[in-house]
């Protein structure tokens, strides 16, 4: 559960840092627009989708596991 929680939070932390460094602008590489660094843009895009699509799944799963652990002793 702790691993899921950590993996769910990590992309958001990394995304926040990349955002502060202005790497969102480099996502323009997707359309072939001139950007400072296509690699940086690629890292930003992957981190963004990890944060928006994958991380919430991990956090929800962690929450579900925590919930079942709390409910399980009562059930037994």
């Amino acid at each position: 559960m702790k691993v899921l929680l950590a993996l769910g939070i990590l992309p958001w932390v990394v995304l926040g840092v990349l955002h502060l460094f202005g790497l969102r602008n480099d996502a323009g590489f997707l359309s072939g627009a001139p950007v400072q660094s296509a690699t940086a843009g690629g890292v930003y895009v992957l981190t963004y989708f990890a944060a928006v699509v994958v991380a919430p799944v991990l956090l929800l799963a962690a929450a579900l596991i925590a919930l079942t652990k709390r409910l399980a002793p009562r059930a037994s």
Binding site: A27, Y48, V53, A61, L64, T68
Partner: protein, 389 residues
């Protein structure tokens, strides 16, 4: 241990089944305000502010880089913004003078660039590969879009200078399309695009309501020819590219077709609607609440080019087709599809809002200009329809 792994797997499965169908809800916004002919939606204002800043106010480095990437992008980045400003002026009559001032600057700068460098400045370099069939060389791509800029300017507020300039373009367009074997003029040497010819026909139609002329016989000839010779047999959709003699060079592609549909909506609304319905059935899609458009019908695959933009494999989701699908969806008041497409934009195109402006980091200036046009369009075509009656 096994029990823990199983619990984790089930939790991940349930979380996925809950999250993925819910994701679009965090990006979906009601787009109804863009479908009303009066007033400027906030997103339209923000996009326009950025475009005006880029085209008229800011450093020219972005435009220079865009021209390096594509002369076509440079040109269309201007025309789409000018067309948008005309629609915005009709939406907000109190701010008309301000919109027209900006539109006039864009038009005069575009005409100056064309005069100084030739129309070829706005073409892709492959225009040099062979000579134009019709002489003297001209491109209906440049003539058609400039004519539509001038026509929409006059639709908002007429003036003698633009009247003369439009009459010259209309005369050239009419002469060249009429003399073509399939009622089409070349965009590139021995290469006609439905996109460019449809936009030119739209410009002729607007000029007809302004000047009392009648180009409907040419429009009818083009449409009848297109139905007979420029239509893909499997899908019934208009092809995108063909030789001067009408030999098809490239089948239907979304990044062309959606704009053709929009342009033809003011020329022959019934034919345009029929094409829209077919295009929606062949190209439009939605996954988990996110709308998209494919570049090619499943039965008529083409190849990616500068118009299609990046194409996601398997789904064939195309940035170019999806962006221009907004234009067609708006034209036919297809609010549900339009809203789903905007939801995808906000999810995957990396919007950046700064000091009252909006741009999409995953796109470029011309991409944002097309989005602005999709948001703003409506009143101009409705005004033409009203004057036709």
């Amino acid at each position: 241990m096994l029990r823990q792994a199983l619990r984790t797997a089930v939790a991940l499965l349930v979380a996925t089944l809950v999250w993925l169908p819910s994701l679009h809800l965090f990006f979906a916004r009601n787009q109804h305000d863009a479908f009303v002919d009066r007033g400027i939606a906030p997103r339209t204002s923000e996009l326009a502010a950025r475009q005006i800043q880029t085209l008229l106010g800011g450093p020219t480095s972005e435009l220079g880089a865009q021209h390096q990437a594509s002369g076509e992008w440079d040109f269309m980045g201007r025309t789409y913004v000018a067309w948008s400003l005309a629609n915005m002026a009709l939406r907000d009559p109190q701010a008309k003078a301000s919109y027209l001032e900006k539109m006039d600057k864009i038009i005069s700068e575009t005409l100056a660039v064309e005069k100084d460098n030739g129309f070829q400045y706005f073409l892709l370099p492959y225009w040099r590969a062979r000579p134009f069939v019709a002489n003297p060389p001209r491109s209906i791509f440049v003539d058609g879009e400039i004519a539509l800029m001038l026509a929409l300017r006059r639709l908002v507020d007429d003036n003698p200078e633009d009247k003369r300039a439009l009459e010259e373009r209309v005369s050239v367009i009419t002469e060249r399309m009429s003399s073509g074997p399939v009622a089409s003029a070349e965009s590139y040497p021995d290469e006609c695009w439905t996109f460019c010819n449809a936009v030119a026909l739209a410009a002729l139609t607007v000029s007809d309501v302004l000047d009392g002329t009648d180009h409907s016989p040419l429009a009818r000839r083009w449409i009848e020819t297109a139905k007979a010779k420029l239509t893909d047999a499997k899908t019934g959709l208009l092809v995108s590219r063909y030789a001067y003699d009408g030999t098809v060079m490239e089948g239907p592609e979304g990044s062309t077709l959606w704009m053709v549909i929009h342009a033809l909506a003011v020329v022959d609304p019934a034919f345009a609607r029929d094409q829209y319905e077919k295009a929606k059935s062949e190209l439009a899609g939605s996954i988990l609440g996110f709308g998209y458009a494919a570049e090619w019908p499943a039965e008529a695959k083409g190849h990616a080019d500068i118009d299609s933009g990046p194409v996601i494999p398997l789904l064939d989701v195309s940035a170019g087709s999806s962006g221009l699908a907004l234009v067609a969806a708006k034209t036919f008041d297809d609010e549900p599809y339009f809203t789903k497409l905007v939801t995808t934009l906000d999810f995957a195109a990396f919007p950046i809002r700064e000091r009252g402006t909006l741009r999409y980091a995953a796109g470029n200036q011309v991409g944002d200009a097309v989005l602005l046009y999709a948001m703003a369009l409506g009143p101009a075509w409705h005004e033409v329809e009203r004057r036709k009656r």
